[in-house]
C-alpha cells in the first residue's frame, strides 16, 4: 500500500547555538509519526532551501532564538519559492515578539510558537494543514 508520511525539515538558521527546543520539537514530531530531517545548527537560508528541495519536504520548521527572524525568514521564503516549493508550509519557533507574528504570517508563515508552547499544538496544526490531502 502506498505510504504517505508528512516530511518535516527542522532547521536552525542564524548564529544562536542552542538547539534544545529544535530537538524537543523534532522528537515530538517523530512521536507523532512524521519523518523529521534534522539539519543542525547555524544554517544559512541557502542551506535550508537546498535541504528542503532535496528532501522534498511538506513542512519547514525554523527555530530562531537570536531575534533575527525578520531578516532570516524572508530570504528562506524567497528561495523556497524560486525552487518551486511555494507549497511548503513554514512554522517558526523561538523568541518572536508578539508584534512580529502578524507580519510573519503576512509573509506566508503558517504558525509561530513561543516558549512553553505545547508540542501537541504544533503537531495538531501541522496535521490540520495536511488534512485534505490525506
Amino acid at each position: 500500500m502506498p505510504e504517505r508520511k508528512i516530511r518535516v525539515l527542522v532547521a536552525k538558521p542564524g548564529l544562536d547555538g542552542h538547539d534544545r527546543g529544535a530537538k524537543v520539537v523534532a522528537r515530538a514530531l517523530r512521536d507523532a509519526g512524521m519523518e523529521v530531517i534534522y539539519t543542525g545548527l547555524r544554517q544559512t537560508p541557502e542551506m535550508i532551501a537546498e535541504a528542503a528541495l532535496q528532501e522534498d519536504v511538506d513542512v519547514v520548521g525554523l527555530s530562531i532564538l537570536s531575534g533575527a527572524h525578520m531578516s532570516l525568514i524572508p530570504p528562506i521564503l524567497k528561495l523556497l519559492k524560486a525552487n518551486g516549493q511555494e507549497h511548503v508550509k513554514i512554522f517558526v519557533g523561538g523568541i518572536v515578539p508578539d508584534e512580529d507574528v502578524p507580519r510573519l504570517k503576512e509573509m506566508g508563515v503558517t504558525g509561530v510558537y513561543g516558549p512553553g508552547a505545547p508540542t501537541e499544538a504544533i503537531v495538531n496544526e501541522i496535521r490540520a494543514t495536511f488534512k485534505p490531502a490525506r
Binding site: R27, L29, D31, E35, V36, I37, Q43, M47, Q54
Partner: protein, 343 residues
Amino acid sequence: MVKPNIGSILSGERIALARLLSEVENNSVAGQATLDELFPHTGKAHLIGVTGAPGTGKSSLVNQMALNYRAGKNPKQVAIVAVDPSSPFTGGAVLGDRVRMRDLAGDPGVFIRSMASRGSLGGLARATAAMVQVFDAAGFEVILIETVGAGQTEVDIARLAHTTLVVESPGLGDEIQAIKAGILEIADILVVNKADLPGVENTERALKGMLGLAHPVAKVFRHHGQDMVSAGREPEGKALWVPPILRTIATDGTGVAELVAAIEQHAKHLHNSGEWGRRERARLEAELEGLLTETLVKRFREGVTDIRYEKMVDRLVQRKVSPWGAVKALLKGKNGFTAKAQD
C-alpha cells in the same frame, strides 16, 4: 499526481528529481510508471555501500568521500542516500545524517536524500534500491548508500552495492566478534575510522586475524614436501580480492584519499574479474524476487477478508492451529489466492 516527465529527470532538474524520489519512496503508481521508463537509463553508476555500527562515523565518512569525489580535475556527480531507522511504534523518524554533511551544501554536483527505514530490517528501506535507480538514471556517477547503524545481520547493502565498506571504530569488539558470520563478511573494504583514538591497533589486529582465518586467500600448504593448493583457491589467472583494512579520521579527512583510491581499485577488480556482471545479475534477481514476494502476498491478502484473517489469528492464539497449519488453511480451496473473498 501527474506522472513526472522523464526528460526533466534525465536532464537533471532537481525539483523534478526530488519529487520523483518521493513518489518512488511511497511506491505510488506514478512512481512505478516513471521508474519503468527510466530503467533502461540505469546501470551506469558505481554503487558504494557504507555500513557499520551506530556511531562509528559513517555519515562523516560519507561527507569526506563525497568531498574527495568532488575535488580534483575530474569531479564526479555524487548522490547520497542516507537511511535512518523509523520508530517501530509510531512510524516516525528523526533523520540526522545531514548534520554531518554540511560541507557539501551549495555544491550542485551533490544531491543528498534522507530516508526512513519504514519497517525494513535489513539495514535499508524497501524503496532504497528504486531510489538508487532514479539517481543512476539522472546521471549521478557515484551513489553513496549509507545504511542504518547496523549490528550483525543487516547485510542487505551487500546485495545492492557494487562495493561495500564496513566501518569499524576502536573499542567496539574483540576477535570473537570479528570471526562471527555477518556484517564483517560482506566487506569489500574494511575501514577503521576514528583512527586517532586509542585501541586502533587492537581493532586492526582483530580484523586482520579475521581475514586470515576466513578469507580464501591463495595459500599454499606443504604436504609431504609437495606443494598443495588450499581448497579456497580460485582458478589460475583470476586474482582474488582481499579486503584491505584502511585507517581514517573522518572529522579531518585523514586517509580518505587512500580509501577512495581503494574503492576505485575494487571497481577495476570487479570489471576485470567479471564479478561486476555477476553482482549486477544477483542484485537484480534479488530485487525481482523481493518485489514478486511482496506483490504475491499483497494480491493474496486482497482475496482474504480481514474477518477471515483475524479469525485465523484467533485460532492461532488459542493454539487450535499451528502457524504452518494456518498458512495451509488460508491458501487452500476457495480462498486460494486467485479467488476473491468468499466469506
